[in-house]
Structure formats: C-alpha cells, structure tokens
Symmetry: C2
Subunit: 331 residues, 2 copies
C-alpha cells in the first residue's frame, strides 16, 4: 500500500511537471528583455484576457492595430516602398524615354538621391503614381511579389522581409494566441503590403489597411472583368487618416495600438480615449549599432509630438536598444 | 473465432453508425427544400473543403460575400434603411422647422409617400444626408441601435431583424462551420448595419462593407478625439463599386458570392472570372404569398440584366417559393 501511494504521488507529480516544461520552453516573447515595456505588455494581455478580471474583454473585441514602417519592419535608409518605386523606375525606363530629361525620374536614373529628395513630396507622389498605378490589381500584385522575393536591403544584404523586428513578430503571435485579431494600419500603400504580410507577420490581406489608389472596374477586351489602378490617391492612411480608416474598415476601436512616429499619434489618441483598459505603445529607435537611432529631427519616421504625448500620458515607449534582446531574427 | 469475428464486425458497424445519427439530426440547411439550388450549394462546399479534391481551397482563402437588402433580409415595401431615415426625419422635425415647407422633408412629415418617391434619387440623398450625418460615429451607432431595437416592419409587425431569411442565416452558419469567412457587401450604408449584424447574422463589424460617408477626425472641446460624419458620400458600394470595395477591404476574390439584383451583377462577374471553382448565387423573389414576387420591372431590387447573365452562365438561381421550406424563422 505504501509503495502504491508513493507511486501514485510520483505519477501525479510527473503529470503536473509535464506542462511546466513546455511552458518554460515557450516564453512567448523571448526576444524581449525584462523591463517595464515587456512587463506592461504582458500585464495588459493577462488583464484583458482573464475572465476573472474586471477589465476582461471578450475575444471578438480584441482588435490590435500596428503601424508597419518603423514599427514592424525598418524604414531606413529610405522607406522600403520607396526603394521598390526607385527599382520600378529603373525597370520601366526603357518604355519611358521622356524620363531621361524629366524630374524626378532623371534623378532616379542618374542615381542622384539628393535631387530625388529635393523633389519633395510632389516628386514622391509622381514616383508613386508612375510606378504603382496604370495597371490591373493582379499585375501590380505580381510585380510586388517578384520584387519582394529578390530585392535586398542595402545595409543588411538580405530580403526586406527579413528586416522585420523579431520582438514585434513575437508580440503579434502572442496576441493572436491570446485571441486578438491583428491588423496593420500603415501610411504605406495597401497593395504593396498584402502580397507578403501573411507569410511574414501572419496578417492576412483582409487585415491590412493602408494608403490606397482609386481603382475602377471594367470588362476587358476578352469580356473578363478587371480592376484597374488609376493614377489618383484614394485615401492617405496617415495621421488623422488612421482612426478614420480604423472606423471605416474595422468599425471597432483598437484594444491595443502600436506605432513609432507622429503619423501614429491620432491612432494612439483614438485608442487611448476609448473606455476600459487600452494599450498604447511606441517603438523608439534608439539603437544606432544594431539598427538606427532617430526621433525628433528625422525626416523619416519623425517622433516628436507623439513622444511628448506618450510621456505626458504614460503610454508605453519601447526603447529598442534596452528592451530588445534581438532586433532581427538573422542577428 | 467465428463469434469473435462477428463481434468485431458488429462493433465496427456500431462505430460507423454512431456518426450517422448526429449527422441526420444536424442537417445544416433544414429550411432548404431538396432541389438543384440546395444541391449546388452543398456540392460546392463539399468540393472546396475536401482535402482530396482537386478543387480544394485552403481555409484562409474561403471568402464568402453576401449582399444584404433582398439577399439576407427583405427590402419591401421599402428598403429598411429608408424606413429608418423616415423615422429619423419625424424624430428630428422639432429641431428643423424649415422642413415643414421644404421637400422632400415636407412629404415625409405629411406621410405623402408618393411625393417622397417623386423626389427621386436627389430626394433620397437629401434624406440620407440629413439623417445619417452631422453627428459623431458613436452617436449615430446609438441611434441605429435604439431604432432597430424598437421599430417594426409594417407587414409582419415584428422587428426588422426578424425579417431575415432563415435559409440564408443557415447558409452563413454552414459556411463558417466549413471554414469560410462571411462578409456583407451591401449598397446600404455600413454604419446602419454594423450595430446588429453580429447578433443577427453572426457577421462582425469588421466584415461589413457598405456605402459610406466621409468621416473626419478632430479633438472635441474636452480634448477627447471624435470621428465626425460629414454630409458627403465617400463611396457608393453598389454595382461596379462592389468588386472595387471587395478588393479595397478584403484584397482577395470571393470563393462564393450571393446577391439578388442588378446591383450585384459585377460582384458576381468578378467572382465568376477568378480561377478555380467559384459559386455564384442569386436569390430570386418569387413568393408573393410568404414574401414578395418581383424582378425585371421592380424599382426596388430590380433583377434583369443579372438574371440574363445568371441563366446564360449557369449561375445558381434560388427560387424562394420552390427552394425555401421556410422563409422567416417566425413562420
């Protein structure tokens, strides 16, 4: 009898011990250092998913929205979408002899990045329209898929889809495992992201919101329907455009929102002002060795007003250098 | 040995028989009569969800889009959203003394539906803007939720949310149980639908696409952010606008689409022209006893060109009178 009891107790202990091993092995955020940022994220997710908590939120209301450039992947030395546009100008140049003398195209073909930058926002829009419109949606999707499979980041010499922040990929996965629906809400254009976000972030096309172009439906010469991308911006998904698009596309307020720049300030305000517990996070670029360090003075991803508001209101500011054990998976 | 074999066979038969009982008890489409429409739906869902089928489609690509008015709920004697607008004109009239003499508002207040109809599309847009805009999104959502909870359909003397087609609710559930993501793609305005679609159809706000108004973000006097509904139509989600919005909001082609009128023709064409097996369905209003009978000559939900195309191309046309055992759950 005695032996038998011991055996049963041992068996029970064994059973109890088994789940502890995978738990220890499956820390959902292994690339995050211990610290206030990690702790605030973990505590928030526990609080809103615990049925016993007064802050419990039913799964269908667990909406999480993430900016993309500078929040999920890098945005230096230039926005990756701009790198795509420049490559497209070079690829399309034989069909556009007029670009040899016309700015900002001439500057791109001459490799004169200072002149490209000097063309300002007007020049950027011209580059965008010339390379992102004037074709069907299927054709554009194929062009993006081909480019993203082959182009390399100039500093890291790897595909752009590897220059994504491993801690944020882990956070996206942890949120989904906790019943959240994860969305991208980006100033980048939506159909530049959709061909690869599911594979890279686990975010399907229907959960990607971004700047868009006017698209029109018509029957082609063969009677088959086409969606044609017109050279006209439909909506700029940046700044106040982000909460507007969150309402338009999702129709619920985010429970958690993450950005990295002043272009995300209104999305974070809109999230913060909703009832109940809400998580507002900012990724701050502080690591000039492993990534880049920039904020208030930067032309790309400027973080100034939103940083003041984050500090004033106690939003979570992630310090990349201090809070991230690993920035990229390839490190 | 002989007995043992018989026992094993009997046991096997028993095991095989057990699943047959719940299957018989849980016919997913009990309100559909046996017939070609039902059969084409069942066969299609089996084909695309069977891993052994050459037409198998992975779950993440199983997008189903449904029109709302006349496809999921009735649209007679007038669109339910118009009934809401008329009720709102009456409720708001004390604040608008000028409506007593101004058309189409005067006609609404006089109960002169002929004059309301005579005001045409211009009049309808005026009614829509006066009752659906000029407030925050939160305020409008509350107004809709209050109305839908109390208003009654004039013929059936029941809430409008009960004047929904039970066979289509069953189909939505069966699709979701088969791994589909179900969407509404309606000519009605999106924020008139979102407050109740989850409860009535099991379709969450983020899967409701519709006509929308321009919305702007601002900080209120108390510093709290607001989304304000401007008196300007953003996008008409009807006809060619449906495939455009499917691309904009979902970014994948539907695997299955259902409509009931010429306003759904382009959505069905866009679905039909995609590669692989696709289901194209039309609900035809043929039952002037239990519901209404109308098609080519109707001002509401006209079904003319789309019916010709459906017949020419072999799309599934559901004959409400013949194919539906029950139309409404309350029957």
């Amino acid at each position: 009898m005695r032996l038998r009891h011991i055996t049963i107790v041992a068996a029970l202990l064994y059973v109890l011990a088994v789940p502890a091993v995978p738990w220890a092995q499956t820390d959902p955020l292994p690339s995050w250092n211990a610290g206030t940022a990690r702790q605030s994220i973990v505590t928030f997710i526990q609080t809103v998913t615990d049925r016993a908590s007064p802050q419990f939120v039913p799964p269908e209301q667990r909406i999480a929205t993430f900016d993309n450039d500078g929040t999920l992947w890098a945005e230096q030395p230039i926005y990756f979408q701009l790198a795509f546009a420049l490559d497209r100008v070079r690829a399309l140049a034989p069909k556009h002899p007029e670009w040899k003398t016309k700015q900002p195209f001439k500057a791109v073909l001459d490799g004169d990045m200072k002149a490209v930058a000097a063309s300002g926002q007007k020049g950027m829009v011209e580059l965008l329209l010339a390379t992102h419109t004037g074709m069907t949606t299927d054709e554009f999707t194929k062009t993006v898929a081909d480019w993203i499979a082959t182009a390399q980041h100039p500093r890291f010499k790897r595909p752009y889809t590897e220059v994504v922040y491993q801690p944020m990929v882990e956070l996206l996965e942890h949120l989904r495992a906790s019943g959240f629906k994860t969305y991208i809400v980006s100033g980048g254009t939506v159909e530049f992201m959709r061909p690869w976000t599911e594979r890279v972030y686990g975010i399907p096309p229907e959960q990607v919101i971004g700047t868009s172009f006017v698209t029109t439906y018509k029957l082609g010469n063969d009677g088959k329907p086409l969606l044609f991308r017109q050279p006209q911006i439909d909506f700029v998904d940046d700044g106040p455009g982000k909460p507007v698009n969150i309402q338009k596309f999702i129709g619920r307020r985010p429970l958690l929102a993450f950005g990295n720049s002043d272009g995300d300030q209104q999305m974070l305000q809109w999230t913060a002002a909703a009832e109940g517990a809400r998580f507002k996070g900012i990724v701050r670029h502080t690591d000039d060795v492993r990534e880049w360090a920039y904020d208030r003075q930067s032309h790309v991803g400027r973080l100034d007003k939103a940083l003041d508001e984050a500090k004033g209101r106690g939003w979570t500011v992630v310090d990349m250098k201090a809070d991230w054990k690993k920035i990229f998976a390839f490190e």
